[in-house]
Structure formats: structure tokens, C-alpha cells
């Protein structure tokens, strides 16, 4: 790979710029390592991660908190060579292939077996691990027990029952289900595939190039057209407000919402995975985890790796605090999640069980933005516009196939 400086002169930059290039050389002794987080919504997280970093004795670490469009900001900074040394993200095959990330297999040591295998898998590309999982997040279906009872509706265990329930729960100004302001296409596309025994990508092949996929996505259209969905709420699916304010009897949101829902509704709610649809299909919950990663352009890769090891491998107390003291996440290490008292009862315990039995990667490393855009476009058009599902899905599968061929040959 040619250096940044050389490219500048290629691009016709003046000698002036090239001469200034050496200014950026950070690093060396006494300089702090730079660590980035995206902005967590829960109060206290920012102070906590600063506290963790301050307790690291070997090298000073400055923590940077990044609100707004974290993905774009991180991507831009990693490209410039002026990015953070350590940052959180989910690994993508494109970054790995472009040599932007440092493999972290040796950081894990004996602790490797302690990490939930399915979570580690989402941080593994071409056989190497690129991120140390920090906290597991998952999504699931919340339902209001009293409202279901009143309407004589059982908690849905199939997709058809879900559609039926949404329709029947829609009354007295309350909608049956809230699954995002886009009508569910964004968050339920994956669960719909899984409900039919399919997936985004499977063994380097397109996982949804199947007539069943069109049928499963067609069910989302049925749900949308049933009139049972809440649309255009002030806060989107990631926050439970529509559910707790009584605007919808069921809502698709995440584990992180459990404390707020408990506070508002007490025991009057239950949680479910996305139900199964047919054949080989299974109920599912999308699961993902941000991991700590090391920038390959960092001038101090070894120090950065050592810090990551300290933070997320050695200091198990930090992982516990980070996952359980502020919001509600599942610690990726079994030794911690199993003894966490917060996770042993109620909806949280159900969630842990779903992650064990029904977990699907919400954002696998080889599900690239090209594939995701093609798939989401297709789902949106089917769900919101009533476009023919088979043609749309076929086109998206074609695009995904080209992309996978480029990646894996």
C-alpha cells in the first residue's frame, strides 16, 4: 500500500502539504492513548469509561465520547491515519480486508473459552478475531399482559398469530404493534428471514435466495397492511415510550428498555422472541455486541492491545459494571452473566434464555453495506409500497451474490 504522503503528491497536492505530513506523527513516550466510544444513552456510562481508563497505570488514556453519526465519523478518522488507537465497533469484512484492524486473538489468552461462542463469531473474520466483545445487546418483542387478556389474545407463537394479534389488539385508539416508524421493514427483515429458516449470508452464500424468503417478507407486508401497526411515533423503536405510554399493545425493542418498561408498567408485560413462520423456521432474537478494537494505523499497536486486554479481559469487574450498572446488557463472558443477579428473574431472565436458544447475528461481518442496502430497499418496497416480493427479493439476492463473489471469489 502506498503511503498517505505519496498519494498526496499523486493527487497533485503541493509540496507544502507533503512537508507538513510529518506533523501528524503522534505517539512516542508520555503521549496518551486515544480511545473512542459512541454516545451511550444511559446516564453514567461516560463517567464510568473515563474512570476505567484513568485507572490504567501503564499509559495515560484519553477517552473521547462521540455523539451523532458515529459510523461516518469513525470511518473518516480511520482513513486519515489520525484516528483513535482503540475504539468500539462491530468488525466488518471490508475493514479487515483493507487492513484497518489489528487481529486480537492473542489478547484473549485463557479467557477465550469464557466468551459466548456465537458472540465471538460475530467478531471473527477469515478465522481471526478483531474485536473483544464489551456488551451484548438483543432485541425482542414486548407485550402488555393486561391488554392481551382484555382482547382475549394469546402471546403469539407464529408469525400468523402475530399478525392476527396486532389486528385484534388495535382498538380504542391503541395500536396492536409498534415495530419502528418505517413500518417494521428495518428491524424485522432479519427476523422474518430467520422465521422461515433462512439467513442473510450462510457459508459465504446468499442465505435468502429462496421463494420462502419472498413469502416471509410478504408476511411483513401483511402485518403492515393489517392496520395494526403504530406508525410515526415521536421516538423510534429503540425506545419503549410508545409502549409505556399505551400507544401500542406490543412493541419490538431491546433488552436495554427493560428497566424503563418495568418502571412504567410493573409486572404488566412479557417478552417474546420473533415467532417462527414455517418449515425449518425458528423463533429468533437479533443479537449483537460492540467490541473493543485496535486501529492498524495506530503508532502504538502493542500498547493499545495491552490496554484492551487490561480493560475487557483482566478487569472482569469493569465488564460487570459496564454491562449491569447503567443500562441493561448481557455480559459477553459467561462467568459474569451467570452470576449476575439482575439477569436471573423476569424479562431479563427470558432474554438471557432467548440469547442462548434463539440468537441470530444482527449484523454479521460479511453482511456489507451494499448487501444491506439492497436487502433493506427490497423489504421497504415490499412492505410499504406493496411491490411484488419475489421479484424484489430476487433482485436483492442477485446483488448480494455479486458482492459475495467479490469477497470470497
Amino acid at each position: 500500500m502506498i503511503s498517505r504522503r505519496r498519494l498526496l503528491s499523486l493527487a497533485g497536492a503541493s509540496a507544502l502539504l507533503a512537508a507538513c505530513g510529518s506533523n501528524t506523527g503522534r505517539g512516542g513516550d508520555g503521549q496518551p492513548l486515544r480511545q473512542w466510544y459512541h454516545a451511550y444513552g444511559e446516564p453514567g456510562v461516560q463517567q464510568a469509561v473515563v474512570r476505567y481508563a484513568d485507572s490504567y497505570a501503564k499509559v495515560p488514556v484519553t477517552v473521547q465520547w462521540n455523539p451523532g453519526d458515529y459510523d461516518s465519523k469513525l470511518a473518516t478518522s480511520l482513513l486519515s491515519g489520525d484516528g483513535p488507537d482503540v475504539f468500539e465497533s462491530t468488525p466488518q469484512i471490508s475493514s479487515v480486508r483493507a487492513g484497518q484492524l489489528v487481529p486480537l486473538d492473542d489478547v484473549f489468552g485463557d479467557a477465550r473459552g469464557d466468551f459466548t461462542e456465537s458472540i465471538l463469531a460475530t467478531h471473527t473474520v477469515d478465522g481471526k478475531i478483531y474485536g473483544v466483545p464489551q456488551a451484548v445487546d438483543m432485541q425482542m418483542l414486548f407485550y402488555r399482559k393486561s391488554l392481551l387478556e382484555k382482547a382475549g389474545v394469546q402471546p403469539p407463537s407464529t408469525v400468523d398469530e402475530l399478525i392476527d394479534a396486532s389486528r385484534r389488539l388495535t382498538r380504542d385508539g391503541v395500536k396492536g404493534l409498534f415495530a419502528g416508524n418505517d413500518g417494521g421493514g428495518g428491524v424485522l427483515g432479519g427476523p422474518a428471514l430467520w422465521s422461515a429458516g433462512l439467513d442473510y449470508v450462510r457459508d459465504h452464500q446468499v442465505g435468502f435466495d429462496d421463494p420462502l424468503a419472498a413469502q416471509a417478507i410478504g408476511k411483513l407486508r401483511e402485518l403492515y397492511a393489517s392496520g395494526g401497526l403504530l406508525l410515526g411515533a415521536v421516538k423510534d423503536w429503540a425506545e419503549p415510550d410508545a409502549f409505556t405510554q399505551g400507544l401500542a399493545a406490543m412493541q419490538w425493542t431491546g433488552l436495554w428498555a427493560v428497566p424503563a418498561v418495568q418502571k412504567a408498567l410493573g409486572d404488566d408485560f412479557g417478552v417474546l422472541p420473533f415467532p417462527r413462520f414455517s418449515g425449518d423456521g425458528k423463533a429468533s432474537v437479533p443479537v449483537g455486541a460492540f467490541g473493543a478494537m485496535v486501529n492498524a494505523k495506530s503508532k502504538r499497536i502493542d500498547e493499545a492491545k495491552e490496554f484492551v486486554k487490561f480493560l475487557w479481559i483482566d478487569r472482569t469487574d469493569y465488564q460487570e459494571d459496564f454491562n449491569l450498572s447503567y443500562g441493561f446488557h448481557i455480559p459477553p463472558r459467561r462467568s459474569i452473566s451467570e452470576k449476575a443477579s439482575k439477569l436471573t428473574s423476569g424479562a431479563a431472565a427470558d432474554a438471557v434464555k432467548f440469547v442462548r436458544d434463539n440468537a441470530k447475528a444482527s449484523n454479521p461481518p460479511d453482511w456489507t453495506s451494499v448487501m444491506r442496502t439492497a436487502f433493506n430497499d427490497a423489504v421497504s418496497r415490499v412492505v410499504r409500497d406493496g411491490a411484488p416480493a419475489d421479484a424484489e427479493i430476487k433482485a436483492a439476492a442477485g446483488k448480494a451474490r455479486d458482492e459475495l463473489k467479490r469477497l470470497y471469489g
Partner: protein, 292 residues
Amino acid sequence: MRHGRAFWLFVGPFAAGLLVFVYVPIGWSLLLSFFDARNTVTPTEFVGLRNYADMLTDAPFLRSLGTFSLFALFIVPLTFVLALALALLVNQISFMKAFFRSVFFLPTACSYVVASLVWKLSIFNGVRFGLANTVLGWFGAEPVAWTVSTSPPWYWLVLVTLRLWLQLGFYLILFLAGLQRIPQHLYEAAWIDGAGRGWQTLRYITLPQLRTTSVAVLLLLLIAAYQAFDEFYNVLGTDRGYPPFARPPLIYLYYTALGSGGQDFGHGSAGAVILTLLIAGVTLLQGRVITR
């Protein structure tokens, strides 16, 4: 020689900055458009015109170019006519003139972020307590999911009203300035010749006199329509990306070049070049005006 030195004394500092901070990046982007540049801005694999060929056969990109040509056809005349109408009204009154001028110009102070917030969360949210749905409720109508519904595509109402609110004031001021430059004696002469005070003076005096202002306004509006980004991104974008409806070309390119899960600067830059050529072509078509 004296001119030469003076010219660079005046233009030099600006030109140097323009070169470094505008043209180096432009040249760089142009270069990237000929390379396979995934997750890097220092690519090594030259691919010739392949990125261009890909983009010119990329259905979503072409669709967004088409959508925004239609959008331009619609929003440009609409903004033009409304801004002119308001300017004529404000120009004809004397009492509270400054007040009305201020009110119409005030939205220019708002950022797209703020305006999008108000439109998305307060006026056009899809639940009962949104302003638009409250008004509908007074007439007994059911709440409408403004930003979601695709049939009819209400999101255009949301986006167009937002853009009008933010932009009208600026063009109104341009028109007001133009109107104030029209010599009063032209009108007086026309009235003596028996022209009616309304439509006829507008048709034969005001509009011809506003020609240069109109051309400039049309040009700026056209460029702004094709470069639409901010309010679309803030109103329709979600954490799951941007839906395939009303997707501006720049948003599509933004996700191509900076999307999570893969940055593709080759295709992104090629698309940007195509878009730029399209804008240049359309503006040239619209008038050979601007250089004078």
C-alpha cells in the same frame, strides 16, 4: 506587470486556499473514481471507467437521479412563484412592512437540523398529538402516518413544506431587492398609457425588469434541488439507513462512500462526478447566464 502583481495580491490568498482546501479534495475524488477504493483513500488498483459503468447501470442511483429531476421540476417553480408572490405583497404595503419581511426571513436563521426536528417530531409525527393530526382530528379524520405512508406519498408534503419554510425568505429578499431597483417612472408611464394596475404591469414591467434576479434565483434553486441532503437525511433517515423512497442522489452516494459496513469511495466518487456533470448540464441548459 503592475496589474499582475496587484491581481495576485487581491486574488492570490483566496486562490491558494481554494486550491488546497477545495481543489485538492476535488482532484483527489476524481482520482478515486478511477480506482477500486474500498475502505481506503490511497488505492492501488486502477480500474479505468468501471466505476462509472457500474454507477450508470445501478438502478437505485439512476432512480434517485430521476426522482430528483422530477423534484427539481416541481420545487423550483413552486419556490420561485411563492417567493415572488410574497415579495410583491410585501413590496406593495407600507404599514408593518419590516415586520412581515422579518417574519418571512426569520426561518433562514434555523439550521436544517432544527427544522427537521420540528417537522418530524412535532408537526408531522404520525400519532394523535402531532400538530397536523390534531388539526385533522378537529375534522374527525384518522391520524395519518406522514413520513411513512407511500400511497399517497405524504412524505413529499413534509419535505416540500420544510424546504419552502427554510428557503422562501432568502429568495424573497432577493426579489425584494430586485423590485426596489425598478424605477418608479416605468410604472407611471405604463399607467398613463392605460395599463391596468394588476396583471398587466406585472406582465409587462415587473417581470421583465426582474429578469436578471429571476435567472439567478432559478439557478440557485436548481443547484439546491439536486444537492438536497440535510432535511431528507434528518427527516427520513433512521438508524437502519435510508428508505428507497425520496432518496436524494447525494444521500445514496453518502451511504455508498461512508456507509457502515464498507466505504466505497470509487463508486461514490464516480457517482459524484456524474451528478456534477448532470447539474452542470441542466444549469447550462437553463441559461448561459451566470458568467456575466
